[in-house]
């Protein structure tokens, strides 16, 4: 095992897959000469050249629409969106074209493409550059939405995404690029659509993913000191959603808190709670609570912004509430 950052893990996945399969190429804003806005593709341009690391104009429809076209005729493009907030400019391609083509033409057309998008708040970028709109993308059948919370999963899931014959929306979190974690040596992939227990416990189930995982792990450490053992289930993929480990854990603990960085309304928490009601109603011993972003556009001011984002104490408080 090697201990590397999330950024290194993602970079390794991209490089390994480009080495493995010549049909894989990258296109996006500043991915080449600049080296990637978040330095994920640093060194790629020199190694692979402009044919495989394509700097595009600032034109999200051309980036994602272009990647769809190239995928349709047999390539495996990776389209990078500088931030997930720019995905809205290419919404038609992400939700209305890529996920529809295979179905709508009766299976004749495939779109083996990855869209990488960087999201998350907490960096004082103001309301339009700080969002966690992951659930919007997870609403659409035909698209697979992946959002890892550890370097190991980021690498393995991205490799699977690149090899997948379906369009994948792969969400990274800008504040997590420096997070370090153990990553297996050598070749491995992680299956898309499989949730994972990241920490075991018998008292309460915390369901989360991505940034929420980082926060929940810290909250679980604090709770352990007070004698509460939280089990953390990391969804890793928002669509298709794997409820197996969530339900298994809930049937053991009978209590759940759902943690997400995005807004609460119509969010991951709403979905998971509803599924627990539908599939494990008899096991519910306490109200299921949600920890999420406050329902405001994120402000620039650091204190105000942090007050709107979910924090470790919010999770601790919610867990104590469901343990009453």
């Amino acid at each position: 095992m090697a201990r590397i950052t999330m950024r290194e893990a993602i970079s390794q996945a991209l490089m390994e897959e480009m080495d493995r399969d010549p049909s894989v190429f990258i296109m996006g804003e500043e991915v080449g000469v600049w080296g990637g806005t978040y330095a994920v593709t640093k060194g790629f341009y020199d190694k692979y050249g402009p044919e495989r690391v394509k700097d595009t104009p600032i034109a999200e429809n051309a980036i994602v629409g272009g990647a769809i076209g190239a995928a349709m005729v047999g390539q495996r493009p990776i389209a990078e969106l500088m931030t997930i907030n720019f995905a809205f400019s290419a919404m038609d391609y992400i939700v209305n074209q890529a996920p529809k083509l295979h179905y709508m033409f009766g299976g004749q057309i495939k779109v083996p493409m990855v869209i990488r998008a960087v999201g998350g708040g907490g960096r004082q970028l103001g309301a339009t550059h700080s969002q966690t709109p992951d659930v919007i993308f997870a609403h659409f059948p035909g698209l697979k939405v992946v959002s890892p919370g550890t370097p190991e999963d980021a690498k393995g899931l991205l490799k699977s995404a690149i090899r997948s014959d379906d369009p994948i929306f792969f969400i990274e979190n800008a504040t997590m690029y420096q997070v370090r974690g153990e990553v297996p040596e050598g070749e491995y992939t992680t299956p898309i659509g499989v949730s994972k227990v990241q920490r075991s416990g018998n008292d309460v189930t915390i369901v989360t993913y991505a940034k929420g995982l980082e926060l929940s792990m810290k909250a679980a450490d604090q709770l352990a000191k007070e004698g509460i053992q939280a089990e953390i289930v990391d969804l890793r993929t928002l669509r298709p959603l794997d409820m197996g480990p969530v339900l298994e854990s809930f049937k053991k603990t009978n209590r759940a808190v759902i943690v997400e960085e995005g807004w609460k309304s119509y969010g991951v928490g709403a979905e998971i709670t509803s599924r627990i009601y539908e599939e494990a109603f008899d096991y519910i011993d306490a109200p299921i609570l949600r920890v999420a972003q406050k329902e405001v556009p994120l402000p620039y001011n650091r204190t105000l912004e942090q007050s709107a984002l979910p924090q470790v104490p919010d999770i601790v408080a919610a867990v104590k509430e469901v343990m009453k």
Binding site: N61, G69, M72, Q108, K110, R163
Partner: protein, 322 residues
């Protein structure tokens, strides 16, 4: 152009016209649902363009796609079956009128979001450029699609990357019911290509031979220079935008006047005056087409509905271990 090819083009134009006329009747009978946009009046455009392509050249178009599908070699049976939503349609009854495709015939759809397929066309040409071949992607769209951002992003990308795309703008003078002058800063659409430093021209879309020759020239340019090209084809839609069009935006006189030099009548006159074919020969082709259309209706009506489990098929690709 040899006689056989000209007669084949005539046949395809008549087939589009007559198949769509039957389609319109079946729509009125409630056997075809959804939106249906007829190509009647524009047959010379796709017929001339597609007759000029190499079989390795890809075609992608908008929702007015029945003609393109037939010109690309998709059978009348499959087109009619798709219109009726049957399992034997090329899209297995899941696409309908606006979503016909057959990648094996290099027909890449039928796309129903106005302008949405233009960046995809650039991407297809990018895929071919990346693969190192000299295939051309032929992208057809109405003049209404040139006012939306997609058009500009797609043309810009094609130009800066030297992508082999032949942009074919079918200027039929109305985007739904809005006349081109009311919607576009310039009504001569080819001028828009100038802004991207892109070679362009326009051609009379009522004359299939002129369309064919212009397309041939443009395709040669695109292929040998690895540069995109915009061809504006002046045409006119004789039927409503879709089946539910009250046509308040134009007069019946205007339509009647345009019918006088509609493309099939024009081509028939040319074939007769140049003695390429006799009236008897052309009548025989018309009769053959009638039989083909009738058979397609019988095929479609007797074809099975999609099985209930088809609902869940093709949401994702069936893929083994990765």
């Amino acid at each position: 152009m040899n006689k056989e090819k000209q007669l084949q083009m005539y046949r395809e134009m008549v087939l589009i016209r007559r198949l769509e006329k039957r389609g319109a009747e079946l729509y009125q009978d409630g056997k075809i649902g959804g939106f249906m946009h007829l190509y009647i009046g524009q047959e010379a455009v796709s017929t001339g363009i597609i007759a000029a392509r190499e079989s390795r050249d890809r075609v992608i178009t908008a929702y007015r796609d029945h003609g393109v599908a037939l010109n690309c070699g998709i059978s009348a049976n499959e087109v009619m079956a798709e219109l009726l939503g049957k399992a034997t349609g090329m899209s297995k009854g899941k696409g309908g009128s606006m979503h016909m495709a057959d990648p094996d015939k290099n027909m890449w759809g039928g796309h129903a979001i106005v302008g949405g397929h233009l960046p995809i066309a650039s991407g297809m040409a990018l895929g071919d450029q990346y693969a190192g071949n000299d295939n051309v992607t032929i992208c057809m769209f109405g003049e209404g699609a040139t006012n939306i951002g997609y058009f500009h992003e797609a043309l810009n990308l094609a130009k800066i990357w030297g992508l082999r795309v032949l942009w074919v703008c079918e200027n039929n003078e109305y985007g739904m019911g809005t006349a081109v002058e009311r919607a576009s800063a310039v009504s001569e659409i080819r001028q828009k290509a100038e802004g991207y430093g892109m070679k362009n021209s326009s051609v009379n879309g009522r004359d299939v031979l002129k369309v064919h020759n212009a397309a041939k020239e443009a395709l040669d340019y695109v292929r040998s220079n690895s540069q995109p090209y915009l061809l504006e084809v002046e045409t006119y839609r004789l039927r409503g935008h879709s089946m539910g069009d009250p046509e308040r935006y134009r007069t019946q006189d205007e339509v009647l006047k345009r019918k006088e030099n509609e493309p099939i009548r024009t081509f028939r006159k040319q074939l007769l005056s140049k003695k390429t074919a006799t009236a008897k020969k052309l009548d025989a082709i018309d009769a053959e087409v009638d039989v083909e259309v009738q058979k397609s209706v019988e095929f479609a009506e007797s074809s099975p509905e999609p099985a209930p489990e088809a609902l869940w098929e093709n949401v994702y690709v069936e893929q083994g271990e990765i």
